[in-house]
């Protein structure tokens, strides 16, 4: 009798241990997969915006920097991302004939599950020469 009672419940304990390990790993993969996915979106949007903005005349309306900012905000919003907490900085670095447009984007990150540590913000930074070095 004692032998049978000592075995009862051991399966539950074993399952709990396995489940914890399995779910923990799955949650980590999900959250970090989400990190990479969001950052890839951020990077793609930033690069597309700066590629377009770098072709604009510096004294035009909008300026390359303002065009990049507007483009990034619009495209991230179209992806369903809340841009209210988004930080976009677009600055002209250097001077003609080597003036560069630098765009930095920072977005607070919300994990899917949140069990494992993930970055609090996702950042993307791209620099490109202005085509019109007026």
């Amino acid at each position: 009798m004692d032998g049978r009672r000592s075995r009862r419940g051991s399966s539950a304990i074993e399952f709990a241990f396995c489940a914890a390990a399995l779910l923990g790993t799955v949650f980590a993969v999900l959250d970090w997969g989400w990190v990479f996915y969001r950052r890839t979106q951020l990077l793609d949007v930033t690069n597309a915006a700066i590629s377009e903005a770098s072709t604009l005349v510096q004294t035009g309306t909008p300026t390359p920097a303002n065009a990049a900012i507007a483009d990034i905000e619009a495209n991230l919003a179209a992806l369903g991302i809340d841009v209210s907490a988004l930080t976009v900085t677009a600055t002209n670095v250097g001077s003609s004939p080597a003036e560069v447009l630098n765009v930095q984007v920072s977005l607070p990150f919300e994990p899917l599950i949140g069990l494992w540590p993930t970055p609090e913000t996702l950042n993307a930074e791209v620099s490109m020469y202005l085509e019109r070095q007026d």
């Binding site: 032998g3 074993e14 241990f17 396995c18 390990a21 399995l22 790993t25 980590a28 993969v29 970090w32 997969g33 990479f36 996915y37 950052r39 890839t40 990077l43 793609d44 690069n47 700066i50 590629s51 770098s54 072709t55 604009l56 005349v57 035009g60 004939p97 080597a98 560069v100 630098n102 930074e125 791209v126 620099s127 490109m128 020469y129 202005l130 085509e131 019109r132 070095q133 007026d134």
Partner: protein
């Protein structure tokens, strides 16, 4: 008395099961962690590849902007590519230009039959850039190196069409038919062309403004000229800002506003001033893109008609427009230009025009 088999069955199953689940869990966990490692590193790998591609595209664009048709411009192109690569990042780390290939990764050349060909034998014809950045030993995040991910090469390639007169505000491309020129090949340089009411004047032009023009936009912006001797010089053209003005008058104004003066050393003997010239600053030059096109018309050159379907940009040259007769009857309006050099590539390119080839991954 108990059956010997029952006695054995009561004892052996417990000993066989003891510890077995631990081994199973350990093996399963190892496999799971390995799979998770591959997944995480795979994602990291692709994200870094995206960043490297963005950097190579920025480098190609930077090099293209620096190419001005001179040997010094070729050096500037690589210097700019170097500078722009090192202000970008990939995989969470700043990029090291030399480690990614250095100057050998930035190839300058031409576009032949739609393909990039490395060729800097004639700087004036080097108008295309191909940048290929490779990281031969990519740092993985977890244990990806155990599965070969860390040893893979993160690579990206980008091409851009660029070149043309550096710093020139190429206000207008000018298109003339191929038959209007003595020859349309790589040796066509320093040719004076007088576009007048009679002769090689069945061309068209447009003012490409703020946006980056490419071949389709250049074609669409040009007003078709019509048959007849007095048709196209002085034709109204649709300017990018919506205003309509006489093309010749516009050119006269552009020449007057230009601050570039005639340089005998690079352009040769200055052509004589046109009779009735309307420009007040004779000898000021405007660098422009000259587009040489083929048409389906097989008649005489003066009767060539450009239609919407007749556009075919066969190549382009750099034209220096130095004089224009903007006043008087249409028959007397003239535009004088010198073709500095010509390329035979099929692309309409320039510092401010050009179709950027979509970046390619490999």
């Amino acid at each position: 008395m108990q059956h010997p088999a029952s006695a054995r069955s009561r004892i052996h199953p417990r000993r066989r099961r003891q510890g077995s689940i631990l081994i199973v869990v350990a093996v399963s966990l190892a496999v799971l962690l390995a799979v998770a490692s591959v997944a995480v590193d795979g994602q990291w790998f692709h994200m870094a590849q995206d960043e490297l591609h963005d950097a190579s595209e920025a480098a190609a664009q930077a090099a293209a902007v620096g190419m001005d048709g001179t040997s010094a411009g070729l050096v500037t192109a690589k210097t700019r590519a170097h500078a722009i690569v090192e202000v970008n990042e990939a995989g969470g780390s700043p990029l090291d230009y030399e480690a990614l290939g250095g100057d050998a990764a930035v190839q300058l050349g031409r576009i032949v039959d739609g393909e990039f060909v490395e060729d800097v034998s004639d700087p004036k014809k080097a108008v295309a850039v191909q940048v290929t950045l490779q990281d031969p030993s990519f740092a993985s995040v977890t244990a990806g190196s155990l599965f070969g991910i860390g040893e893979s090469a993160v690579a990206a390639r980008a091409r851009a069409l660029g070149g043309g007169p550096a710093g020139a505000a190429c206000p207008l491309p000018i298109a003339i038919p191929a038959c209007g020129l003595p020859s349309v090949d790589g040796s066509l340089c320093n040719v004076d062309v007088l576009m007048s009411a009679d002769g090689n004047d069945n061309g068209a032009w447009a003012n490409i403004g703020m946006t980056r023009p490419n071949r389709p936009s250049i074609v669409s912006a040009m007003n078709p000229s019509t048959c007849g001797a007095a048709s196209d010089t002085g034709d109204v053209v649709s300017l990018n800002n919506g205003a309509i003005a006489s093309a010749t008058s516009y050119l006269a104004g552009v020449i007057d506003a230009s601050t570039d003066t005639w340089d005998t050393a690079t352009l040769g003997t200055q052509p004589a001033k046109l009779p009735g010239s309307a420009v007040t600053k004779y000898g000021h030059v405007v660098k422009s893109q000259l587009i040489i096109f083929n048409t389906t018309y097989t008649g005489s050159c003066s009767g060539i008609k450009m239609t919407g379907t007749g556009y075919e940009i066969a190549g382009y040259a750099t034209a220096v427009v130095y004089d224009a007769v903007a006043t008087g009857p249409a028959a007397s309006r003239k535009i004088a230009m010198r073709i500095v050099c010509e390329t035979t590539s099929g692309a309409a390119g320039g510092g401010y025009f050009g179709t950027r080839v979509p970046p390619q991954f490999f």
